[in-house]
Symmetry: C2
Subunit: 339 residues, 2 copies
């Protein structure tokens, strides 16, 4: 056999470098999307803002895309994932709180009575959050959440909640990032509940997650600095809070925003009000067979988790916001389950 | 002349790709630093956390570095830049407020009486901020700040405030980023005062700036969504607020933190308390000739802007925080003035 000469070695190493340099892209972007107006809208928008010869060109540093989480990136039924976490936490902590057996909303949680929990209203919800999310350090909370994600399973899909995210939306995140967008989560969910999983599930690092926050306090404990989670909600990142959160955490107006409920209306309005082109989309849950169907737009049943009233549907139509039909626009809902 | 054959064209394009792939690095990093313990500490730390064979290796996504701004990245004397902005704003708005001629702290500002302004205390400062920073939209405020940076000049250095930043620190930011660090500002200054200039001055995008925030409110005005700046301070990103802000905005503990005053103590403590290696540094202003000298550590005069008390110097020594002497460790303070 002939020894490889220096030229061929050199060629070989150049080829390696060239191969490494090619950005990794899926063979077909948005492969789980049917060929529909929704898919077309995404591709056209990305083409416009990335084309230097287009009047709608946007510099990469301003390609900010914000995504709601519950119902937009992952399932929010039969209840918000964070609520399932809070319920499990009540069950775990119940032996230390015998009084919960007779005290609402804890009694309702222990009896799995979702209606009675709902009846306890906002006050009950805050009590649940305070009891299950505070009075511990940020490090302790992170460890608890991380553990919970490993073991908890969605009641219908029998898989980890972290695998109940939508494959078409994951492809959308990847497609935008491949086109030099910076992708953010802007969710009503707790920021420290989401951060332990966003990198693994969505490829979104902790510093690109905006959410509802609990007040924290810096303290020295045994000579070590800690942040205690206080029994107080600091900021609610929902509805009119979303533009506030975007401005505070990101400081730039998104050119693309994605939501699925009345909680996302103001974020989409804020996104719309920029000077250049912008893309606004709402995921509509009309697929009871593969996921869930709720509205009450289009006559679907109302839901306390991710309500989509008729006037939101009307505003979407009037404002050129694209409504994604899960049933018609998505070939697949979830990725195949991991081993 | 022979036409280039396909192989040579192919070689040529591969070579181009290879050249493009080489990361662009400065010929010598930290060129404005004297060969000192401080410079050595930076280089050793970066070597440790980027060396995959080191027990102190840190994955790129966790290479978070936080920088105070006033006195750490740019000059904070004779007063904080944002205070100079507020003073100018009082002068601009004075014709609409004849009552300011007799009303403190405005009277003091209009008479350039810094002592009387200081005597008005925290209450006076908040009044100044409310009068000059709120009651307008976020967009209006951004435009005002952007304009001010274009025209205002530092009283001693006679150059734009945006050119009163320290060249050695700029090189440090670049050096860290070249080593896959993500650089953040974590400052007591107003987040929306800093964001209009951080990209141009430091290469730090708006979404990597943490600071003190004014409360804002989402409103519809003439059918257009706006964010109004309310007369209320929402969050003070100073002292024990810095770890709180870091946790809230970034969600990861920094492995490197840089400050220059008692306001940065808790940030450095928080940085220290991680599990792996960390670098903590304090810029000490001991160079009256080229910049300013104040302390009161080491017997330098005290200052309300960037106080460095003796117990901070003691804690630095005990805790292995590196104190940077501007006088001894920096070859140059500022970059040559721009044309």
């Amino acid at each position: 056999m002939q020894r490889p000469n220096r030229l061929s070695l050199w060629l070989f190493s150049l080829t390696l470098v060239a191969l490494i340099s090619v950005p990794i892209r899926a063979a077909e972007p948005l492969a789980s999307w049917n060929d529909s107006a929704a898919k077309e809208a995404i591709i056209e928008f990305v083409k416009t803002v990335t084309d230097k010869d287009s009047s709608g060109y946007v510099a990469p540093e301003d390609r900010i895309a914000t995504f709601d989480n519950d119902g937009t990136l992952w399932t929010e039924h039969p209840m918000y994932t964070q609520m399932a976490f809070a319920f499990d936490r009540v069950r775990t902590l119940a032996p230390q709180h015998p009084e919960w057996k007779t005290q609402q909303p804890f009694k309702a949680v222990l009896e799995n009575d979702l209606k009675a929990v709902a009846a306890s209203g906002k006050k009950g919800l805050v009590e649940l959050i305070v009891a299950t999310h505070t009075g511990i350090t940020t490090e302790e909370f992170e460890a608890i959440v991380t553990d919970w994600f490993k073991t908890a399973r969605h009641p219908r899909f029998k898989r980890p909640y972290t695998e109940c995210n939508y494959l078409p939306m994951l492809e959308l995140l990847q497609y935008l990032r491949a086109n030099e967008f910076k992708t953010f989560i802007v969710s009503g969910g707790g920021i420290e509940f989401m951060r332990p999983m966003t990198m693994e599930v969505y490829g979104i690092p902790a510093e690109q997650v905006v959410g509802t926050t609990i007040a924290t306090k810096f303290e020295m404990k045994d000579g070590k600095p800690i942040l205690m989670r206080l029994p107080e909600i600091n900021f609610v990142d929902d509805k009119a809070g979303k533009p506030v959160g975007i401005n505070q955490f990101i400081g730039k107006r998104p050119i693309a925003s994605f939501g699925n409920s009345a909680g996302d209306r103001e974020m989409l309005q804020w996104c719309s009000a920029g000077t250049g082109p912008s893309l606004k989309m709402l995921v509509f849950h009309d697929d009871a067979k593969r996921e869930y169907a709720y509205g009450p737009a289009n006559g679907l049943p109302d839901s306390p988790f991710g309500t989509f009233p008729q006037d939101l549907m009307d505003e979407a139509k009037e404002s050129g916001w694209v409504v994604i039909s899960m049933k018609n626009d998505w070939k697949t809902i979830f990725a195949p389950e991991k081993e």
